[in-house]
């Protein structure tokens, strides 16, 4: 193929528009819309005894206000449980507006619609809600104690409990020459995209249709959810994800209460209505992730080979569990990483607390899993006084053992079988990239100057490209323009570029002719969404298959026109040619004309396809029984199971002996997501992931106090890193193709974030000689650990 754009690090096609300020994010739309503000609970747990709206009614510009009792029956019912699971025996979801009891700060209680946001907030401020405070349940300990209940009818606050076991763990531990126990914890954090959530809806009374714009990772599913809640035929509802200012997981959650209420109000009022979430709302009323505590027992031999691993963990799912058990299931099934564990048992409890609900945030349970596994391997190495890389090497699955079945049921309900990867090669690369073997010299030299250096390493395997499916549609217009549609939406991943690269390569057309539209149900109604590092694998594969269909059709039509055998044709730069006979050629746009037999010559190019222009065949209709008009094709990609990417990170840190500040001196990433469609975009994804990982390891957390108040709900206090906190990141790739999809690719979106807390904890532990069992780690906390270690030593 002459047009080989797959694999090229070309500049992104979406950038000029975004750089000129011509992006269209949610709040850039609907300049004529009414605007919404919500009254949200200031309490973590309380009963609503009265709502007095009298004062609000005096506000000029108020259009409408609603509380739970004002809503129609369907909107008073709890929001859907998106992913049911047999182990989720006590599922509870929120109502659109609180029904008598609020269970976290930020839960919506009343909705105000007004002429603009300023006025809406004026009115919201004047709504007087009387609360009778109930006992808050904050943190996993309080949740597990169960003294107070988040939901009256859920004893012990236990939403779900699940055990998976491979082999006989009790026997393996009993027979192991060595065992050790660890307690490991990761705190709460959140996706925190710079554009918060937002919904804008227009009701068209003339044709009875509703158009919903949402800053979402799944417009197709929002459409169905809105249609169901509003009692509309899906055919009458359209959903569009406009430019989305980052998602990182939080925007896969749907339907938000606001996503239902805004379209409902737009239809009821017959006017466009918009809600743009502000930053404080996003902190308290969107969703969080990560909070888990893990108790581990591991048995191993003299070489550090793991013989049995027993993991019990608790997952804080917050006040409601709309996204099911996906996060703890991912922790449970991704914990083994690249290792052969002998026997493995993992048991978790998912617990309610009176805090913001939990749904996936980039990595989705994997950073916790990786932290648990990698800290365990480091502890084994420490116990045996062996090199940490050597202990890892002793446990790695070998390349010739692929595909490797880890014996667990993954988050898609299908077996977790590693399809590809060369873990020893990855380990060799990361050792080289970070300078593992030379580090003892560096550390000794620094120590001689009174400086404390440490090195750490962490490995992960990431199930990516989960099903059930995605689709793609490729359409060649008679102008030569190639339209590409897929249903999932984009939040900065560069889909308009990489999907165009795939189509340009498969179809043999210039990149500039290819135009990609994502996340618009008017263009492509069937999709799942953008999450789980799946967009390139799923939509990329579907689009490649669709492009191959179009190519086959183009060759068939061109072969007829050129009186050649389709096998003798090639397509390059948008021209179909007979191989070795460049004079015999027809442009693809002319093939598009011929693909659509016409009666009317509506433009110059159409003349060639009209009924007296084409050679007529007496024994064949203009469109064959198994054919369709138009040079277009649609296909779907539905994999048997997920494909597994992998990688390893390593870090060198320096800890300040006085201030306990941690500085990252070197950071190295080796990553295997199969063949790279666009290396520049993959590296950008890794950079961003690592930055979020560093944020979660050293800076960010959701600091709830005992009363359930989020005490750092602003960018002043949440400590999202600036450029000054993120070091240079060295990257190397390994490209072992996946056998599961037509492009051999594996997902790349989340990988960067997964092993960072584990790698940095290991490096800090190495620098300080103090075990690190809990992340994030602030200078304050490191100082306290030093004091405690000093106290124990003296």
């Amino acid at each position: 193929m002459t047009t080989r754009l797959f694999g090229e690090g070309i500049a992104r096609r979406e950038d000029p528009r975004l750089l000129r300020g011509e992006g269209r994010y949610l709040d850039d739309l609907g300049s004529d819309a009414l605007e919404v503000a919500f009254v949200r609970s200031p309490h973590a747990h309380a009963r609503i005894t009265d709502i007095d709206v009298a004062d609000a009614l005096d506000v000029d510009g108020l259009v409408a206000l609603y509380v739970h009792e004002d809503l129609p029956a369907r909107l008073r019912e709890p929001l859907p449980l998106l992913i049911p699971h047999p182990a989720l025996t006590q599922p509870r979801t929120a109502c659109c507006l609180a029904d008598a009891v609020v269970r976290h700060v930020g839960e919506p209680v009343a909705m105000v619609v007004a002429t603009d946001r300023y006025v809406a907030e004026d009115a919201a401020e004047r709504i007087d809600v009387t609360y009778e405070p109930l006992e808050p349940v904050v943190g996993l300990d309080a949740a597990a104690r169960g003294a107070a209940r988040v939901h009256d009818d859920v004893p012990g606050n236990v939403a779900a409990a699940l055990v998976q076991e491979v082999g006989d763990v009790d026997a393996a531990l009993a027979q192991a020459p060595h065992t050790l126990d660890l307690a490991l914890e990761i705190e709460r954090s959140a996706s925190t995209p710079l554009e918060a959530r937002g919904v804008y809806a227009r009701w068209d009374a003339d044709d009875g249709t509703l158009r919903v714009y949402s800053s979402t990772q799944t417009p197709t599913s929002v459409r169905f959810a809105v249609a169901a809640k509003l009692g509309l035929p899906a055919e009458k509802v359209e959903c569009v994800a406009p430019d989305v200012g980052g998602g990182f997981g939080v925007k896969i959650m749907h339907p938000w209460a606001e996503e239902i209420l805004v379209p409902w109000a737009a239809r009821l009022l017959g006017r466009p209505v918009k809600w743009t979430e502000d930053r404080v709302e996003h902190f308290v009323a969107a969703t969080h992730e990560r909070a888990q505590t893990h108790d581990i027992t591991v048995g191993f031999d003299d070489d550090g080979r793991i013989l049995g691993l027993d993991v019990r963990f608790r997952h804080d799912n917050g006040a409601y569990v709309p996204y099911g058990l996906i996060v703890p299931i991912i922790t449970a099934t991704q914990l083994p990483g690249p290792y052969k564990l002998g026997a493995y048992r993992v048991a978790f409890e998912s617990l309610y607390s009176t805090t913001c609900p939990v749904t996936p945030y980039r990595g989705a349970g994997r950073p916790q899993a990786c932290f648990a596994m990698e800290r365990t391997v480091d502890a084994i190495a420490a116990r045996l006084e062996r090199d940490r890389a050597a202990v890892r090497a002793a446990n790695l699955i070998a390349p010739d053992e692929m595909p490797y079945d880890i014996g667990l049921v993954f988050q898609d309900g299908r077996p977790a079988i590693y399809d590809s990867g060369d873990f020893p090669a990855t380990l060799a690369k990361v050792r080289e990239l970070i300078g593992w073997d030379d580090f003892p010299r560096l550390k000794a030299e620094a120590a001689a100057e009174g400086r404390r250096l440490g090195i750490g390493l962490a490995c992960y395997v990431e199930g990516t490209g989960v099903g059930p499916y995605e689709g793609g549609h490729v359409h060649v217009e008679t102008s030569g323009r190639v339209n590409v549609y897929t249903g999932l939406s984009s939040q900065g991943q560069g889909h308009a570029t990489v999907f165009a690269q795939i189509v340009a390569t498969e179809l043999g057309v210039p990149l500039d002719d290819v135009h990609v539209t994502t996340g618009d149900t008017r263009r492509f109604p069937y999709a799942v969404g953008t999450f789980a590092s799946r967009a390139a694998v799923m939509s990329g594969s579907a689009i490649a298959l669709a492009a191959r269909k179009v190519r086959a059709k183009a060759l068939r039509i061109a072969a007829e026109a050129l009186e050649a055998n389709p096998d003798d044709l090639e397509i390059s730069e948008g021209i179909v040619r007979v191989k070795g006979s460049p004079g015999d050629a027809i442009p693809l746009k002319a093939v598009a004309v011929l693909s659509n037999p016409l009666r009317y010559a509506f433009d110059e190019s159409a003349r060639a396809a009209t009924q007296f222009a084409l050679p007529a065949s007496e024994d064949r209709p203009p469109i064959a029984d198994d054919d369709e008009p138009g040079l277009e094709g649609r296909d779907y990609y539905s994999p048997l199971r997920s494909t597994f990417a992998n990688g390893m990170h390593a870090a060198v840190v320096e800890t300040d002996p006085d201030t306990a500040e941690v500085r990252i001196l070197r950071y190295a990433v080796v990553h295997d997501c199969g063949p790279l469609i666009n290396p520049r975009i993959v590296e950008g994804q890794i950079h961003g992931g690592v930055a979020q990982g560093i944020a979660g390891a050293l800076y960010e957390r959701m600091a709830y106090d005992e009363a359930g108040q989020l005490t750092n709900a602003s960018f002043m206090d949440f400590l999202m890193p600036y450029a000054t906190e993120i070091p240079a990141i060295a990257i190397d790739h390994l490209e072992t193709p996946s056998p599961l999809n037509p492009l051999g690719i594996k997902g790349a979106g989340e990988a960067g974030v997964i092993p960072v807390s584990a790698a940095l904890a290991a490096a800090i532990e190495d620098a300080e000689g103090i075990p690190i069992h809990r992340m994030p780690l602030s200078p304050d906390e490191l100082h306290a650990l030093r004091a405690r270690a000093g106290g124990e030593a003296s």
Binding site: R20, D27, P193, G245, F715, A723, T724
Partner: protein
């Protein structure tokens, strides 16, 4: 409760005088976005920390979410829409971001672009440290800042090649 009193005044936005009639509490960011339709200036936190709303006020980068529109009456404001040529040709700073993959979702990008314009006006050849310092008032959640930092140096090169000032 009645509507706020409205104030009438002129802002010079991207070189053009623009008439505004807004309440005293109208933020500059909202006035630009919703009254003048210049939605390239974004709002990420409404409390002056993220820098998405950065514009140039009389040539200096400021947070438009921390200023009332009425408080800058008569002053000159440059937004991201004021940088590219009339035919859409990217400004060297914008060009540098495109070349270096300095953006992903693009939401923080206009703020970074304006901040870098301000930085390079003061320091046409920034050192690594000056470049880092110059972008360290803006948050980006996508890029890990690696390529934004490269874009600062590339923008300096492009401006020098063109003998241009940001």
């Amino acid at each position: 409760m009645t509507a706020d009193d409205l104030h009438e005044f002129t802002l010079v936005v991207n070189g053009r005088p623009r008439e505004l009639r807004v309440p005293a509490r109208r933020l500059l960011s909202d006035a630009l976005r919703h009254d003048l339709g210049l939605t390239g200036t974004h709002v990420g936190c409404e409390h002056g920390v993220c820098g998405c709303c950065t514009v140039l006020l009389d040539g200096e980068p400021v947070r438009s979410c921390l200023a009332f529109a009425v408080s800058v009456a008569g002053h000159e404001v440059t937004t991201v829409e004021g940088l590219a040529g009339p035919d859409g040709t990217l400004h060297p700073v914008q060009q540098a971001f495109a070349e270096c993959h300095g953006l992903q979702c693009g939401f923080c990008t206009p703020g970074f672009v304006m901040a870098v314009c301000g930085l390079l006006a003061d320091q046409p050849e920034p050192t690594e440290e000056q470049a880092l310092e110059g972008i360290s008032g803006n948050l980006c959640r996508c890029t890990g800042y690696q390529n934004i930092l490269r874009a600062v140096h590339r923008a300096a090169e492009l401006l020098a090649e063109q003998g241009d000032r940001p």
